[in-house]
Amino acid sequence: MEHIQRHPARVARAPSRLLDGLQRWLPKLVVAPTFVLVGIGIYGYMLWTGVLSFTSSSFLPVYDFVGFDQYAKLMTNDRWLTASVNLGIFGGLFILSCLLIGVVLAIFLDQKIRQEGAIRTIYLYPMALSMIVTGTVWKWILNPSLGLEKLMHDWGWTSFSFDWLVSSDMAIYTIVMAAVWQASGFVMALFLAGLRGVDSSIIRAARVDGASLPLIYWKIILPSLRPVFFSAVMVLAHIAIKSFDLVMAMTAGGPGYSTDLPAVFMYAHTFTRGQMGLGSASAMLMLGAILALIVPYLYSELREKRHD
């Protein structure tokens, strides 16, 4: 009793100091679970896959280091080469088509269009669908006998034939079609947002100088949307490199392996063909491709943010 009375201040301060300490640690405690989850789930696993790619793991992981053997094997693997070429074709056409369609639709939609909201909603809804759903529908539309072909025959164009889906040379282009249908509305939304941010006084000035509207768009507005352009390419390239669902739903990589993409290759070798080492190596190369795109992008993004 006496002791407490003599030091009343200290008694009151002790728990408050504890609370203070807790307060100081709280922010870190709150982010700690995420830190652990992401640290292991992204960075740790990335490393783990990297390690596996240097082993001869087949059905089960083994840790015998074989150097760059798996990467060398990959470089001479026909199926991997096809997948890489396909990614080039698919990625290139997908990005270009989405950009072209997206920009044109955004500019047209920016002309004080009645019912703009409704039209915009229609352009964007495919983005809310699963790639598997998109693949399922397009597979049906492109069905070599019952789909588009039959429709054209019924409409009187009897010589029309369209069997790209089952042709090993053309099937990859059917994947491009479905992917563009799904993602071009998203590019439109990005550009429309960008257009809405363009300072109208510059354009008014150009008009006063007698420039035509298409010229103004071409010379002034589009160049000012370079950052939007850049993000759109980033995101589209990212979608292309990761593309898996759409191929699985439409062609499952076939006919043969003519529509394989790296993501499909990785899945097949790692989980169904028992070539974990090779699969891991292919995953690391995919990561490499994304890094080559992302690092310069993130660098410039973060620097811009700092100026805010």
């Binding site: 922010p27 639709l105 809804y125 699963s130 019924d154 739903a249």
Partner: protein, 289 residues
Amino acid sequence: MTDVVRTGFRPSRVAIYGVLLLAALVYLIPLFIMLVTSFKTPMDIRTGNLMALPTDWTTIGWTKAWSEACTGVECNGISGYFWNSFKMTVPAVLISTLLGAFNGYVLSKWKFKGSDLFFGMLLFGCFVPFQVVLLPMAATLGQLGLANTTTGLVLVHVIYGVAFTTLFFRNYYVAIPDALIKAARLDGAGFFTIFFRILLPMSTPIFMVSLIWQFTQIWNDFLFGVVFASGDGQPITVALNNLVNTSTGVKEYNVDMAAAMIAALPTLVVYIVAGKYFIRGLTAGSVKG
């Protein structure tokens, strides 16, 4: 830019509307085809064409898809997988959003040494191709006894979704003046008091973005579903793919299309009801593929 565009003359206006409406038609046609095919009989599908309306409307495709269609060896329809997706999506969305909200709060208002680096790591995590984590994750889930379980999938979706939700909340909270927080701290408000009393009441829009974005992403996921789940535990996307790409028996396109509709309906409904939040997530978190 409103006054700039008024000068367009008539023919060009017609052309603009023409192109826009044509494009709208192209975007709508697959949905139209999916819908009409799902209400046709197999006979009707063979004799009619893609764009033709059903000669007699039937819901047999829908009932079959829901409760009888074969996904691989089993023939119980896709209803079970549909509920799997719900059981997986709801907790994963809630947990990842809640974690994201607190992370975003800390990373914007309670910065500590290294917190910017942590945010950078999260941001980078948004871009990592999932192929690079699949194999170790499969091994870990197996070790934890979570392979082929809904809990396992929830965990996976939380881990790979939290980077995005954190990004959403962090960017939203950064715009809220720090002075507000400082004043509250001077008044003696602590970490949680500030969050619940000050930030939370103004967070409805960003919660909507995060919830809807995560719902769409997790519901639509196929890769994690196909790698980490098997048999009865698969989500609807995997079941739909199995149903459509099964090679046995006569192909029933009406059932395929009905199943695709069923798999698409939850996200379509969300998009129609709360599209603006979906779009905001799309453009804000445009890092997610």
